[in-house]
């Protein structure tokens, strides 16, 4: 009278009942197949993180240091930059170099480290071999002459784009932009890394701007609310050598 119940699954007694076997085998195959396919294709279709990256060869430069809105060096023409260049500076990790830079504002400095590049923006991550210091040999008069110290006012603009931390954006993280990266960007900005604006449309050939407030000072912490989102901002654009500075009006920022 006792039935075999072999259509009934009791895990500790026997395997999968015959009636379920085909379905369970199908589920197992589907699971393993779907996991493999999903892993492969989700990975393969991730969005392009952009071309920024580190160039891990130590380089040293001599130039004139400016500290507002963020530390930057007007580099005299050299092997790497035959025309000279304006380099943004950052420290190791999520740190700026404001502390060392403060005493050297306007002075001729030596500074070395590794470069990060993306588009027209170059940033030097200052290393230990040639720290940011008053220049040992100084600059020849010719070299000093060759530094483009001009400041040109390009007028008032309304730009659409993203407020980012300059270091992750130029390649310390890929991707170093977008909402998923916002907390990380805020942390960089808190540490003193220069804030940059990436415009969706270029102004005079560049989409990258160093950010400052209207008086040329570092942007207010208030503005972190808008980091990583697509925003529209009004401000004045200034060309310093080959670097563009976007002096934004904090009250004009609008999330799109």
């Amino acid at each position: 009278m006792a039935k075999t119940h072999d259509d009934f699954f009791v895990g500790y007694i026997r395997g999968v009942p015959r009636g379920s076997r085909a379905l369970i085998i199908l589920v197992i195959l589907a699971f393993v197949g779907a996991m493999s396919g999903a892993g492969y294709f989700i990975s393969a279709t991730q969005p392009d993180p952009g071309p920024g990256r580190f160039f891990f060869q130590h380089k040293a430069f001599t130039g004139i240091l400016e500290t507002a809105p963020y530390p930057l060096v007007r580099v005299a023409p050299n092997e790497t930059y035959p025309e000279g260049h304006t380099l943004l500076l950052a420290g190791q990790g999520k740190r700026g170099v404001q502390a060392t830079a403060a005493a050297l504002a306007g002075k001729v400095v030596d500074v070395g480290g590794v470069l990060l590049k993306r588009g027209t923006i170059d940033m030097l991550q200052v290393g230990r071999r040639v720290p940011l210091q008053a220049s040992v040999d100084g600059l020849s008069d010719d070299a000093r002459e060759a530094i483009d110290l001009s400041v040109t006012d390009l007028g008032t603009w309304r730009l659409t784009g993203e407020i980012c931390d300059g270091k992750c954006y130029v390649g310390a993280m890929r991707p170093g932009t977008g909402i998923a990266h916002k907390a990380c960007a805020n942390l960089c900005l808190n540490g003193g890394v220069p804030a940059v604006f990436v415009s969706t449309a270029p102004v005079e050939g560049t989409e990258f701007f160093l950010l400052s407030d209207q008086n040329g000072n570092p942007i207010d912490k208030e503005l972190q609310r808008f980091v990583a989102a697509r925003v529209q901002v009004d401000g004045q654009i200034e060309r310093r050598g080959d670097l563009m500075v976007f002096k934004v009006d904090l009250n004009s920022v609008e999330v799109l």
Partner: protein, 351 residues
């Protein structure tokens, strides 16, 4: 049904189950990290630490979605029941994958800074008042917390310790955890996502989980309604004898919404609560094996006449009094205290 708690009571089914799960996870991660064509159409590769956090984050999302589909699938089609059997191992593995994601995130986005990484995690974005740029990490932290609590309390020791109703309620938190996880992805990654596949999978799985639960819930209420219970004095007429298959259970709803399980075996009838003392499995969908009611979920057993698990086990369920009248089965809707002996109704002697 253990008397002595061992970490895991292994059997071949569990080995197969865990091996398949592990194979799925390993294939997913390896293909994600090593074999997907990363150079194609990208100016630079995604950073390895970010790739890693994405591999484990997306994997945990898929696993949790699959876990949540198993319950309603098994209710809709009993052939899926073997998938339910070892679901807790799947849950614990999912927690491990999610924890790996979270630690990779913390050890990349929140390090290299003068601020402590855990302080940075909760202070570097506090814009809780806005939609775009909302600190979506908070949803992830909450989901991880839920997965942790459930993984830690998944063992039957805690089930006993908390009592099954409380344990069951606690484990219902998985739904809040899943909702929070969907929010984590919607407010975070998906805000900037331009890739086609993962966002589609997120929408597909969250919709599937929802729809399967609605379908399974509907199926049960329809089943309840189609069984018309008629009240005759203190007794409720719940079924016809010929509807009961031998050595099978039969679920019937009482007017109050409670469900009971009726069993026909050895020429006798007995009724118990439909809820298994283990994890509320539906005993009425079980069988009589070796003279005992056997739960379809994990195979806990009870004697039909008194609702007690056979020695050495100690679980007890409520029993009900039955009457058989002209082929109608009547039940007294007042449950007896768990473990109360009730003489089975002999099918030969209708009253």
């Amino acid at each position: 049904m253990s008397v002595k708690y061992t970490p895991v009571q292994w059997n071949p089914n569990k080995y197969v189950y865990d091996l398949v799960t592990l194979a799925g996870i390993v294939l997913y991660i390896v293909l994600f990290l090593k074999f997907a064509p990363m150079e194609i159409e990208r100016s630079q590769q995604v950073n390895y630490p970010i790739l890693r956090m994405r591999a484990f984050g997306t994997c945990a999302f898929l696993l949790l979605s699959i876990i949540l589909c198993i319950g309603p699938l098994a209710r809709l089609d009993k052939r899926f029941l073997p998938l339910l059997y070892n679901r807790r191992h799947l849950g614990v593995l999912t927690f491990a994958v999610a924890l790996t994601h979270a630690s990779y995130v913390i050890d990349w986005y929140y390090v290299f800074s003068p601020t402590d990484r855990y302080v940075a995690l909760i202070t570097s974005n506090v814009d809780y008042g806005q939609f775009l740029g909302f600190p979506f990490e908070a949803f992830g932290i909450f989901s991880l917390f839920v997965l942790l609590v459930l993984a830690v309390t998944s063992h039957d020791f805690w089930l006993k310790f908390f009592t099954p109703p409380f344990w069951k309620a606690l484990h219902m938190m998985i739904y809040v955890g899943y909702a929070s996880l969907v929010a984590h992805v919607l407010f975070g990654y998906m805000q900037g996502a331009t890739d086609p596949i993962f966002p589609v999978l997120v929408l597909f799985f969250s919709a599937t989980v929802l729809l399967l639960h609605i379908a399974a819930g509907k199926r049960e209420t329809t089943a309840d309604r189609s069984t018309t219970a008629m009240i005759e004095g203190d007794w409720v007429n719940v079924a016809r004898l010929e509807d009961l298959e031998d050595e099978h259970g039969h679920v019937v709803p009482l007017p109050g919404g409670e469900r009971i399980a009726i069993f026909r075996y050895d020429g006798k009838l007995s009724a118990t609560s439909n809820a298994c003392a283990h994890q509320n499995g539906p005993l009425g969908e079980g069988r009589i094996i070796d003279g005992c009611i056997t739960c379809p979920w994990h195979g806990f057993q009870y004697r039909p006449e008194d609702g007690c698990a056979p020695t050495p086990f100690t679980e007890k369920i409520a029993t009900y009094r039955l009457l058989l009248k002209d082929g109608d089965i009547l039940v007294d809707p007042k449950p007896n205290p768990p473990g109360t002996h009730v003489d089975p109704v002999l099918i030969g002697e209708s009253v």
